[in-house]
Amino acid sequence: MTMTLRRRTALLGAAATLAAPTVQAQEGPIRIGEINSYSAQPAFLVPYRNAWMLAQEEVNAAGGINGRRIETVFRDDAGRPEDAVRHAGELVNSERVHLLAGAFLSHVGLAIADYANQNRRLFVASEPLTDALVWARGNRFTFRLRPSTYMQCAMLVEEAAKLPARRWATVAPNYEYGQSAVRWFKELLTRAKPDVQFVAEQFPALGRIDAGATVQALAGANPEGIFNVTFGADLTNFVRQGSTRGLFERRRVVSLLTGEPEYLDPLGDEAPENWIVTGYPWAELNTPGHVRFRDAYRRRFNDYPRLGSVVAYDTVTAIVAMLRRAGSTDTERMIEAMRGLRFPTAFGEAEVEFRAIDHQSTLGAYVGRTALRQGRGVMVDWRYADGRNYLPSDEVVRTLRPQG
């Protein structure tokens, strides 16, 4: 009973602080509310959060934004959109953040985007890949940094179309990301090479692939090329069974995200060779901008950056550039500043732009082949595929996104 009483008083105390609207001095820090699936996706998000802190420290050390520091309040949604929406409410209403950012999983990103739309707040989505975020369910309050499923598929199709392979099989995790990736790959490849044939498709449940049976089912269809969308633990298990059973011999594999250190490094010396992948060659990328970023990250965390680190760093860079441009934390002014915003990326490549037409950034990805060097997988023969070249024409985009 004392438990209950104590809980009551604690709640009352918390409520009292919430009730008094915190009058924020106009010149106080600019606050960002960041929501992500920290406990559900630690492999991607620990390096992500590190780089976020790094970028924020750099901005504040350089005097902040017109003298105002930036601060971030992090929240863990545990992979549940309903929890992300509650956090969004807390961040906006009681933490008084000026804008929302983050999200790794697509459905979480969509939930926050819809919250932003209803509550008229700016949401800068860093990671979720789903096309729906800026197209079918896009809204004027939501912007997305990473190249989408469509864009990364388009990058790979360009390479796949050059291969002699005619008979293709696909394997993808059974959720929206996997299904969209397969749909785009089929559609774009058929457009580029009308005589291709898709002879098998596998959709293992995310995180629970029965790798032996899946590999055997693909091998049974005897394809010439394989399009892989699995990642993380599913990819590792798929590669292990596939290599032992010879699935990848005399076949070309085109694979989404596999060149990202998050997914390539756990494979160690069993990393597949000669797959065509999108990813991030962190060790070999020596543009001045990237060298500076890599060195700063190494100094601060004694570790090398992963792709998640680049995504976080670029998100903060974009937000800072936007705040400088807007000169205000008014949501409408911030949205105007986001549209057409140009900012540098940690890749050290061409400037990235947040397109006014669909709020998608033109950040690209690296496309290359995998190879083994000193017992670990790396990307070779890679090139930067600038995102702006892998988006549909403006007319098509207008049909994809609700207008008005």
Binding site: A15, P42, R86, S94, Y175, A211, G212, N237
Partner: protein
């Protein structure tokens, strides 16, 4: 063609062996201790991680590898003993399923500990020495290690059979599985028996995890990925039956291997479909037997006492606070209050069938989620206003309750609970896969309240009104003749039937009522969040409901209310304020379990009785 099918079958056999190892430990533990060990997946994950550490640090070669695997299994066995001695032994007398709460606390703690010890990145273990490569079977390459695994399953089954049938210890374990009280009365040291059984079960889980090392990456999601499937195997086989578990593992393994050739997307739900079919045809699994002794299972629960004056005052005070305080609160506090009100109704609806009905449900989120979808689908497809949506929610959930309940209430105990889980997973996968109708895992957006309820305070009062009203109606039903009949059927089905009560119909109606109430909660939740996703009816939400009811105390009337208040509030606070919130939440749950084995409300009631 034929050779491909053959190899497909062999792949299925290898998976079946892996599955059997995990399931065998689970079924042995359940058979003797009646504990639904949710932490079994965590033990499996620990086995894999420990094996990775040992094997990569020991010298390469046969000794290093196989020694590491066996040592990992033994260490996990010791961890199992620690869990049993320090935690479970203290709460064997608690109401049925209460131990599930404790093991869930262990799951949360192990998740954060594993992250702290082994880091976030997936780990790839070395391959088994001597079994690295592949062999040719009719010209198709097949990994040697998979071939080895195919033999491990039957060998372990054989060894366990010898252990149970050719040793004194095994005879005692079998006796205890059949009738625990009788074995105790004959002077067998039950404590030692339970501890050793837990050691064996944990070892098997650890071995199962360790043997995955050459096959799969070691990662932080292993625990929850395996646990549901392991339970399915145990239940399909028949609780406590080792040969049954083996058969079930074979069935699932082969269905998966061949199922994906025809329906590549079926893996999401296949195991649960098989379980639903098996349980409908054979209510005690393939080789399970109905509980032989009636006296062991029948513990007559005390009737619900009228609340003490202090308790009643506290309840009224809570309602007063819920009514009077909110106008003075900020928006976020209102969001949390709304969520708590909804969770109170959700927990109360589960308690309605679990407490008075005596039928646990592991899939109660289905009705919550179907309520949410019932509302959201109307919004999406016919742009219905909120009022219509909220009306549709209980209908959608109730309809599912009519259909699912008709099958579920015929079963009893864990079988019934698992059948509800199977139906929940089928509903979940429909929401997940039927993209045209439900939007798939990207959900339905834009489910916002009508203008008059858009204000957070107005919506809070709407939610409070409906949730409080429905919760009070459920309470009323428990104290009505219907509720007495329901409790009579729970405590003594034979006598209740003998005096002419239709137990099936009464339980069925109770099930439907509970589904309707959960549907109201789900509908309110949809409009509170503004969007609906399949996660609303996924396993974690069902588990949340169970935790709330058990935490509050299943044998009391106010248990679900207290449990929902406490759990939602603690969870929200910890998740917001701490990075290691899972570790803390797990620790809090363990403490509450150890100090309040009757649940929070149960403990409060006892304290009041003592004072009186």
């Amino acid at each position: 063609m034929f050779e491909n099918l053959l190899v497909q079958g062999l792949s299925g056999l290898a998976s079946a062996s892996s599955l059997f190892l995990v399931a065998s430990g689970l079924t042995v533990i359940f058979g003797v201790t009646r504990i639904v060990n949710f932490a079994h997946g965590s033990l499996y994950m620990l086995g894999a991680y420990l094996a990775w550490t040992l094997v990569t640090n020991l010298p390469r070669g046969h000794f290093g590898f196989w020694g590491g695997v066996l040592a990992a299994a033994l260490i996990v066995g010791v961890v199992g003993v620690l869990i049993e001695v320090l935690l479970l032994r203290r709460i064997y007398k608690a109401p049925e399923l209460f131990q599930l709460l404790a093991t869930f606390g262990v799951v949360l703690i192990v998740q954060d500990l594993a992250l702290m010890i082994w880091g976030p990145q997936d780990l790839l273990g070395p391959r088994a020495p001597g079994l690295r490569g592949a062999t040719e079977i009719l010209g198709v390459r097949f990994p040697l290690y998979e071939l080895f695994l195919i033999f491990v399953g039957p060998v372990v089954l054989g060894l366990l059979w010898l252990l149970f049938h050719r040793t004194r210890w095994g005879t005692r374990v079998r006796a205890a599985t059949a009738d625990r009280e009788m074995v105790g009365a004959l002077g067998v040291n039950q404590r030692l028996l339970f501890t050793t059984v837990f050691f064996l079960g944990a070892c098997l889980a650890g071995l199962g995890g360790a043997l995955q090392l050459p096959r799969e990456s070691v990662n932080l999601q292993m625990d929850l990925a395996i646990i549901a499937e392991a339970f399915v195997v145990v239940v399909i086989g028949g609780l406590g039956s080792l040969p049954g578990a083996f058969l079930a593992a074979l069935l699932i393994g082969q269905m998966q291997a061949f199922g994906i050739l025809i329906f590549p997307k079926i893996t999401l739900v296949l195991a649960f479909l098989v379980m639903a079919v098996v349980l409908i045809l054979r209510p005690y699994g393939l080789l399970g037997r109905p509980p032989a002794s009636a006296h062991a299972a029948q513990v007559v629960e005390p009737p619900y006492p009228p609340p003490s004056p202090a308790f009643r005052a506290l309840g009224l005070a809570t309602v007063a606070v819920a009514l009077l305080l909110p106008p003075f609160l900020g928006d976020f506090a209102l969001i949390v209050f709304t969520e708590i009100a909804i969770m109170v109704l959700f927990a109360a609806s589960l308690h309605f069938i679990m407490g008075p009905g005596g039928m646990a449900s592991f899939g109660h989120a289905a009705y919550f989620g179907l309520g949410a979808y019932g509302a959201a689908l109307l919004v999406k497809h016919v742009a219905a206003p909120m009022e219509i949506g909220l009306l549709a929610a209980p209908f959608a959930a109730g309809l599912a309750g009519v259909v699912f309940g008709w099958f579920c209430v015929r079963l009893s105990g864990v079988y019934a609970a698992m059948l509800t889980l199977a139906f929940a997973q089928i509903a979940w996968s429909a929401a997940f896969q039927w993209v045209e109708l439900t939007g798939g895992d990207n959900g339905i957006l834009g489910v916002w309240p009508s203008d008059w309820a858009r204000n957070k305070l107005a919506y809070y009062y709407l939610a409070l009104l409906l949730c409080l009203g429905a919760t009070l109606l459920l309470r009323r039903a428990i104290m009505a003749p219907f509720g007495y009949a329901l409790r009579a059927g729970r405590d003594s089905p034979l006598r209740a039937e003998a005096i002419g009560m239709d137990g099936f119909r009464i339980r069925w109606v109770a099930f439907i009522l509970a589904a309707v109430a959960a549907g109201i909660a789900g509908g309110l939740f949809a409009y509170a969040k503004g969007s609906v996703f399949p996660t609303y009816m996924a396993i974690p939400r069902s588990v949340d409901a169970l935790l709330m009811v058990l935490l509050g105390g299943v044998q009391t009337l106010s248990g679900p209310i207290v449990g929902a208040l406490a759990y939602t509030w603690i969870h929200e606070q910890l998740m917001r304020l701490f990075e290691l919130w899972r570790l803390l939440l797990g620790a809090v749950i363990l403490l509450l379990v150890l100090f309040f084995p009757q649940g929070l409300a149960g403990a409060a009631q006892r304290a009041a009785e003592k004072r009186a």
